[in-house]
Subunit: 447 residues, 2 copies
């Protein structure tokens, strides 16, 4: 008997849609490289961003292209993948479609990986955003760079001593890794990069204040390393204030509550590094599927990173409230760091391929290699996990370790080379070359 | 007799204000380095821009910091110079003051050098600006980069063949050096950089159209080199249309008049490289001093670059309608190129120092070393002036010559190194690394 013509047509390949090309989405897409599936990778920007170095763009140490690689270019040799620039408005789990802003038709999927990440949260005070920008995207970094550099320019032009001082007060809110990096680098700029370039002000007289609501900086680190970091910040000239809660921010500065006391800090340049909230897509997805979200808006996932009753939907990265499941141990939460997102990306992709092969998904297990944070020139803290127990160190060698780890993980050989060159130059000359402020027409007028 | 106390106070140093830190203003400021004067250098941006390579930023070949150096940093070791970020609203020649937007007090001067440059002109059709951005500032370059890259993204998503074709029609208006560079590089991107990265379109099918109103491209060049350039553009795949006048531009495309015929070109990405107009400051200054301006709004200067009746005001660079005065020859107009601006800057500074020493100013004499233009990968035309007569060549060696001349003149050693590295990489890989589009939130929605 001759087979029907349809039998000879290739079977339709499973359609996998990945939302978001951060660390999680990127790794998931790569893990599907050789699979007989059709992958569509949707992102609202055209680039994968190496977020751990974003603070360097904000502080004029690196140019944007040095830490951002075009997504299309990264996947040009993965023929089963289509890159789509677009903003996802919502997911329809019943119809199995992803809806994009302005698109003629929704995007159908057989399997979906949601890696839409997180944004900054002002704990319900969204009116603070305009006075204290956060640092998540390149546009955020440009805005912060502009505010920092224009604050010095405004101070140079300001005849009134009190107003001048306000322009030279830089406040970073939040003592996590980003806050510590920002504060340390700001101190470096004020003390080492700018002196000698101004005629009416001494940039080294700028005050860099780091406000942390809790009792120590870098709370994900062991207590001794937090203390090391605080000491190193102080040595760089950063005024670190612990147990200090911000109660108000406006154009003139902020109000702080600390030890029962309330005081104000006049400042024209405040950077927000305090709160993180999951992408709103998480809540929409949870509502549509009956899944739950945690306090930060992250979607609570099952051990295999899928949603209850929806084995075809995985949530990973900063958008997921996920646990690591090691045999014979209690599940522990996966920290919101890039290795976590990458590992979840690979695991979600592997589970999809298992399911397509008729096997069940496997619980996710996070391999924790430790934790690094840099503080500024020559300063960092490192907390490594090793089979022989934790390895902890700080100072110059920690900084070198941090530097090489970050350059190593940068996507794309060319970027690595350029970043190393930029840093070698910056290190020896104390210069920061990316001190370009654009769109200054308006800003220059107001400030 | 004891001298009065006042006699021991240092004599007030002459105050020199320079408006604009392009090539002319920068050279003037440098030429005053060792003089006993106080220099204030006003610019509306915080960076000196190496404009000859701006088209590389617009076409994603270079990052902005590679061609922009912070003005303060350039002059950090010139103690007699103060950098001021600000926008000049007008000059008051009677009071000898420069007025800045938002400043408490005007800036007094004893000598003034106006080097405010030029902007693009739409010949009275300013409504075209929104559909056909020009290329003068980094913000312009980012806007053009965004339009180019997003046009390919939009084409990839467009199901309708006719609309897709419009997204893939790139039109450059104006066959001067900028228009030729833009068209050549666009062809390179479409044919070499992007192919393989899209799944629904073939980027190489993009049409690059260069419209020139006159009978040849690069009209400042000898006719034979114009023809070489046209041939090289055609070889790169650029559709060069001569004697083609644009009569309308809107969001859907442009209307062209050529050889008595009128036709439309549907296009969503038009780059304006046709008209240049002097900064409006020129007209204001002319009105206030009784000087005249030419058709392009440039201020007609005396042989020594000062204004009639105002030996304390010099106008240089693209803002000046200046002549070169060689002994025993008819004065010839100085072309609007960077060597002209630089030489005028040095001459204006020297004339100020002569006047301060009680000597008369000297007429400006332009040393013409020739003219270069690049067309694209491996293609350029060179027309050098030498004592033995003109030296003209085109093609690969002209391109190498152009490359090294430009890198050599880049301000600052670090930039040179980075630009060379970027180009070496781009040359061997055909990649363009600065393909970052920011502020995409809105753009991605509309387009």
């Amino acid at each position: 008997m001759t087979p029907a013509i349809d039998d000879r047509a290739p079977p339709a390949r499973p359609r996998i849609v990945i939302i978001g090309c951060g660390f999680g989405g990127l790794e998931a897409a790569r893990a599907l490289r050789t699979a007989a599936v059709d992958v569509t990778l949707v992102d609202r920007t055209n680039h994968h961003l190496f977020q751990p170095l974003l603070y360097q763009v904000a502080t004029a140490g690196l140019s944007a292209p040095a830490i951002a690689a075009p997504i299309r270019h990264l996947f040009r040799r993965q023929p089963n993948l289509t890159t789509l620039l677009g903003e996802v408005t919502h997911i329809d789990p019943a119809a199995r479609t992803v809806h994009l802003q302005g698109a003629a038709a929704p995007l159908p999927y057989d399997h979906l990986i949601v890696a839409a990440g997180a944004t900054h949260s002002y704990f319900g005070r969204d009116d603070w955003a305009e006075h204290a920008p956060g640092l998540k995207t390149l546009d955020d970094a440009f805005e912060i760079r502009r505010r920092i550099l224009l604050a010095f320019e405004a101070a140079e032009k300001e005849p009134d001593a009190q107003r001048r001082a306000a322009w030279l007060n830089f406040v970073v809110v939040g003592g996590g890794p980003t806050g510590v990096e920002m504060a340390g680098t700001l101190a470096e700029i004020a003390r080492h990069t700018l002196p000698g370039e101004f005629r009416h002000i001494d940039p080294a007289s700028a005050r860099i204040i780091l406000l942390e609501g809790g009792p120590r900086v870098l709370q994900a680190m062991p207590e001794a390393l937090s203390e090391r970091a605080r000491e190193q910040l102080a040595r760089l000239g950063v005024d670190v204030r612990l147990d200090a809660r911000v109660t108000a921010i406006d154009a003139a500065g902020l109000t702080v509550q600390a030890a029962g006391d309330t005081y104000t800090i006049p400042s024209r340049c405040v950077v927000w590094a305090a709160g993180v909230a999951a992408s709103p897509l998480g809540r929409q997805l949870a509502q549509a599927t009956g899944a739950t979200t945690d306090r930060a808006g992250r979607v609570v996932v099952q051990p295999d990173l899928t949603l209850p009753g929806h084995p075809e939907i995985s949530v990973i990265g900063d958008l997921a409230a996920a646990h690591s499941h090691a045999p014979a141990r209690q599940p522990v939460p996966v920290p919101g760091v890039s290795p976590g997102a990458k590992q979840m990306g690979r695991a979600a992709a592997a589970n999809i391929l298992r399911r397509l092969a008729g096997q069940p998904g496997q619980p996710f297990r996070y391999a924790d290699y430790g934790n690094l944070a840099t503080i500024g020139r020559n300063s960092a803290v490192v907390d490594l996990t090793s089979p022989l127990g934790p390895v902890r160190f700080s100072g110059y060698f920690a900084w070198l370790f941090w530097l090489f780890a970050h350059v190593y993980f940068l996507i794309g050989f060319r970027n690595r080379l350029v970043v190393l060159l930029d840093w070698a130059w910056a290190y020896w000359s104390f210069a920061r070359y990316a001190r370009v402020v654009t769109g200054i027409g308006n800003a220059g007028r107001d400030k």
